[in-house]
Amino acid sequence: MSKAPTKVTQGLLHCERPIFAASVPGRSGASLPTLDVPEPAADAWPAALRRASTPHLPEVSEPQVVRHYTRLSQWNFSIDTGMYPLGSCTMKHNPRVADVAVGMGEFARLHPYQPESQLQGALQLLWELEQMLAAVGGFSRVSLQPAAGAHGELAGLMMIRAYHTDRGQTRRRVLIPDSAHGTNPASCTLNGFEAVQLETSADGTLSPDTVRAALDDEVAAIMITNPNTLGIFEKHVAEIAEMVRGAGGLIYMDGANLNAIMGRFRPGDVGVDAMHYNLHKTFGTPHGGGGPGAGPVGVSERLVPFLPVPTVNRSKEGFTLDYGRPKSVGRLRSFFGNFGVLLRAYVYMRELGAPGLARVTDLAVLNANYVRARIRDFVHVPHPDMCMHEVVANDQNLRSTGATTMDVAKRLIDHGFHPPTVYFPLVVHGAMMIEPTETETPDELDAFIEALRSVVEEAHKQPEQLKSAPHVTGIGRLDEARAARKPHLRYQPAGEDES
């Protein structure tokens, strides 16, 4: 077993000030040609649309700009820098081969307004991706339109609502266990449904009895996250699905944790009617600062008529975009979804093939269980049995030290690791949700485990080291409460009022 390095950084970290601080009047990064057309008249624009003063733009040279942003980027931590065990987020390596495909002119220079006859290759790719995703989930069809996981949820719930409306029913309630993802109730509310929370049983799964007690003819659907946010497989999902279906409801599954079941369990096979796929989690596309993402949604036969438009259809003549779907919930996004992201996921699936995707699952689950089995010796793991792709620990054993989950998370940064997800799921007090993913080596897992062990030991001996962490970052511990209560949303040079 390798020993965790005691020192993980010894480089140059620039103390970068805001770029405004480097501004010198008259300095410029670009040489604009002299104006050779008449200046517009002073009243060319309505007074209300004209600025009263010039904007505060920094006056700096091009190399200053380049260095500024490069230095700031070096403050960042990313999956390309180190292990990023952020539970529920599946921060795994994005294979670089996808970049090759995305850079190919045949894809990069496509325009969505080109006629279908010139887009046959792209449409074929979308059609094949749909078939592959449908095969993984066990669904009849998949819409590639949604631009993010929560957008996929929204699409799924819109279809569920349309399904009930089409049958002349107005079912208003959606059942959601307390171990589901936090976006689920929000998606319900956005669709005019009322979210009804169900309590998880002591073993961390949803019991069929709990569902039975909440079922009536007002229930439109149940939304299950499987495996749930405790990292536990909902083993009663088939029975629950049958029960809800029997009461006239539909079954939505949050596919955010697909990395734990892909190739081994198909939600469609147990009666799930809709599920979104987070391509940026399971299928190796980047988690880019808020986008672009992709959250395709797969549906059972019952929901096919309500799919968003357009769908890609195949005929003898080739591939066409189908907008003529009378019961469709409509358009969810411009053009055909985030094509560049879909292309990356296509490459990922073709590179691995079906056996490779199943092996991803096996290794993701193995890695999480390896971490679980080893950290149990020094942190509390509320559900200590076999987990899926992530394991939830908490700070119960640290109560006497005064150090909390947040302090452990901050101190882990000093060891060169991104902290796990903290204080989620809410059903576990002081939760640390660790998802190592399949792309970490055993050495890296050991290094993480030893780092966590050393932080926990330190909590007992020198808790103040945790309380004041992180120590080696460019910026130390932030006052998060103050930042949230009194945020400064706009840079103000010293001595100037907000204008």
């Binding site: 909390t404 204080y423 989620f424 809410l426 007090h429 998060e480 409460a481 949230a484 209560r485």
Partner: protein, 130 residues
């Protein structure tokens, strides 16, 4: 942890001070402790005049850790809200039973006050949850 003896409590950690037809409501020092919600950053309250059923969510409390719903401890109508919390949500941490009160409600049935927990029962509940 000790709780004021002159207050009543709900299982969802609201406290209730009932005087002459009106009940002032807040959340307990346990709820806002570092181990529970921690530093409160935003409070969303209902409008004056709104009515709620018992146990119905009537607002949200956001902390550095999470967003939590707060629940009406009994059926009734909102007659006042603590507007100071808009600018100073930290009052909930600093003074949970005085400056950090949330709102005042008129109960539909004053007898409901008797069904709330007293300090001893609430202390026992907290001991079982901590």
């Amino acid at each position: 942890m000790e709780f004021p003896k002159d207050l009543r409590y709900s299982k969802t950690h609201e406290w209730i001070r009932y005087t002459e037809g009106k009940a002032r409501i807040g959340i307990s020092a346990f709820a806002v402790s570092a181990e529970q919600l921690g530093d409160i950053t935003l409070v969303e309250l209902p409008e004056v005049g709104q009515s709620f059923a018992a146990n119905e969510p009537f607002g949200n409390i956001e902390s550095v850790k999470s967003v939590s719903e707060i629940y009406a401890p009994f059926a009734g109508k909102v007659v006042a809200i603590n507007a100071e919390l808009d600018d100073s949500p930290e009052l909930l941490n600093e003074s949970p039973y005085e400056g950090g009160w949330l709102l005042e409600m008129e109960p539909d049935d004053a007898a409901d006050m008797e069904n709330l927990l007293d300090a001893a029962a609430y202390t026992a509940l907290v001991a079982s949850e901590a």
